[in-house]
């Protein structure tokens, strides 16, 4: 790990000023991803700005009836918060599907949004990677790419976003509140993360000095028909090969509202609202769900080792929507699929 200086501001404005003092400076909260990347010399900040003493630790009712989650709320506290469990169980389940209890105790809400890819080439400083070193090339294209993306890729990068929490936030239409030198702004979840395009080094649309202060969930209830289905190489403590956050409203056997977001398949949580529109007014049944899955995956493209993800994703979408429709969400304890 490189040497760095350390600051511990106590208010948001001071934190934003501090991180502006050095272009390599980074905010640190839980540290579960940043410290790991620093140990691999992938991140080499000259200065760390410790934001854990900022007053961003509460979960409050938002104006308009939703829930405002402070950026420093630990993942575990968020997943077990009574209001989240009751009204946003899709989010609680997605969080519990990720990482381990220790990591969930440490990791923050804002930091979860800013996780970097787990692409093995991104972590290996001995290999080219456009995300780590722009212009150096992509080792995953033509390399070992079993865990890589099948949707929204570019010829520069086929990395995936690793978060489970963010997949649920995308499905639930969350908003991200940020503060920077120019003041506050709100970024819809759909616009927060980016596709790789020609700039895979940019994971998000957050400005260089901007700090996430809160995540807001809208006042919508998907607590009845939902499921977070995560498929991975072992049943716990592993990143998703494919995950699906599905939420429905069903009236008289027909879908009146649908939300579907995918993890493990793209550079950002993959939400395709045209597939959701397709479901509306149709019977909540397998044939309809298969049509939606085919639609979501219409442009999916494998890179060799990850070709299997296309069919896996298709089946996972159908399964998750079926679980949601039946009101039998995938359990995050015994994860065998019945």
């Amino acid at each position: 790990m490189n040497r760095f200086s350390y600051a511990r501001p106590t208010d948001v404005a001071e934190a934003v000023r501090e991180v502006g003092s050095d272009p390599t400076a980074r905010f640190i909260a839980g540290g579960t991803n940043l410290i790991d990347l620093m140990k691999y010399n992938v991140e080499r900040p000259n200065r760390l700005v410790d934001i854990t003493r900022l007053p961003l630790t509460s979960i409050d009712k938002a104006d308009g009836g939703g829930l405002r989650i402070g950026a420093l709320v630990p993942n575990a506290d968020l997943a077990y918060d009574p209001a989240v469990v009751e009204k946003y169980p899709l989010l609680a389940d997605a969080i519990l599907a990720g990482a381990s209890p220790q990591l969930r105790n440490m990791a923050s809400t804002g930091g979860n949004l800013l996780q970097r890819t787990r692409c093995l080439y991104f972590y290996d400083t001995g290999t080219p990677c456009n995300k780590r070193e722009p212009g150096s090339g992509c080792s995953a294209i033509g390399g070992v790419n079993r865990i890589h993306a099948i949707l929204g890729t570019s010829d520069k990068c086929i990395a995936t976003h690793p978060s489970d929490m963010c997949v649920a936030l995308a499905a639930l239409d969350a908003k991200v509140h940020v503060v920077g030198p120019a003041g506050e702004r709100t970024i819809p979840m759909a616009d927060f993360h980016r596709l790789p395009g020609d700039q895979p080094e940019r994971d998000t649309n957050l400005g260089p000095q901007e700090l996430i202060v809160a995540v807001e969930l809208p006042d919508e209830d998907f607590s009845r028909n939902y499921s977070y289905l995560k498929l991975r190489d072992r049943l716990s403590y592993a990143f998703a090969l494919v995950s699906v956050a599905a939420a429905l409203r069903v009236d008289g056997g027909k879908v009146s509202q649908a939300r579907i977001a995918l993890g493990g398949v793209a550079h950002k949580p993959w939400r395709d609202t045209s597939a959701e529109d397709l479901l509306v007014g149709k019977p909540a049944e397998g044939a309809v769900f298969r049509m939606a899955a085919d639609h979501i995956l219409r442009d999916a493209k494998g890179f060799g080792h990850n070709d299997f993800k296309i069919d896996l994703a298709r089946r996972a979408i159908v399964r998750a929507l079926s679980q949601a429709a039946a009101g039998t969400p995938q359990t995050q304890t015994d994860k065998r699929i019945q």
Binding site: M1, N2, R3, F4, S5, Y6, R8, D22, T24, I28, G31, T32, I35, D36, M38, K39, N41, R44, N46, R47, L48, D50, T52, Y80, A99, S100, P101, Q102, L103, N105, M106, T125, G126, T127, P128, E133, S136, S236, Y237, Q332, T333, D334, K335
Partner: protein, 177 residues
């Protein structure tokens, strides 16, 4: 390829910073460099070598300790960020000569072979008890998944934890399997 990016200017970064930690009940005034992990501070700075360094990347759980009663990976924790916190390691679980019930249960159930992961397993299990969210053996297995055992002692680890949780007021239901 690129291998090691260049060092940036240090900006006086080598400055050690004074912090106060309560470690196993004892208040310690320490000076740490900001890049020192809590794990390295415990093992190399304070000779508390019960806490083990397995992967050093948050993937194995061998370094698990309790900070303010919550289980965390000490390898991914910067000591300087925990100024003012209370740390409990495996050395701090016993009450003088009386082992913690979880330590007794691990011995009784032969819940280890080589022992390298054991301190982390026990600290994690104590954290699990404090959280109070495991009510079946399936839930114990899921909520202990952050601790790997390369000897494969999982069956006995779950039995040990189940026994201690069963003695606890919170009780434990039979596994719904």
């Amino acid at each position: 390829m690129n291998s090691m990016p260049k060092h940036g200017p240090n900006n006086g970064a080598a400055q050690a910073i004074p912090i106060t930690l309560t470690i196993n009940g004892e208040v310690r005034r320490l000076t740490v460099e900001p890049w020192t992990s809590l794990l390295d501070l415990l093992r190399d700075g304070l000779d508390l070598t019960g806490t083990k360094k397995g992967c050093d990347h948050g993937q194995c759980g061998a370094c698990t300790v309790l900070i303010d009663d919550r289980r965390v990976n000490s390898c991914l924790t910067l000591a300087v960020m925990k100024d003012g916190a209370s740390i409990t390691t495996i050395e701090g679980l016993a009450d003088d000569d009386a082992l913690h019930p979880m330590q007794d249960a691990f011995i009784e159930h032969d819940a280890f072979q080589c022992g390298y992961c054991t301190a982390g397993q026990i600290c994690s299990a104590v954290g699990l008890m404090k959280e109070g969210r495991a009510h079946s053996s399936a839930e114990i297995r899921e909520l202990m998944s952050g601790n790997l055992c390369r000897c494969g002692c999982y069956v006995n680890i779950v039995a040990a934890i189940e026994q201690v949780l069963g003695q606890d007021d919170s009780g434990i239901k039979e596994a719904a399997e």
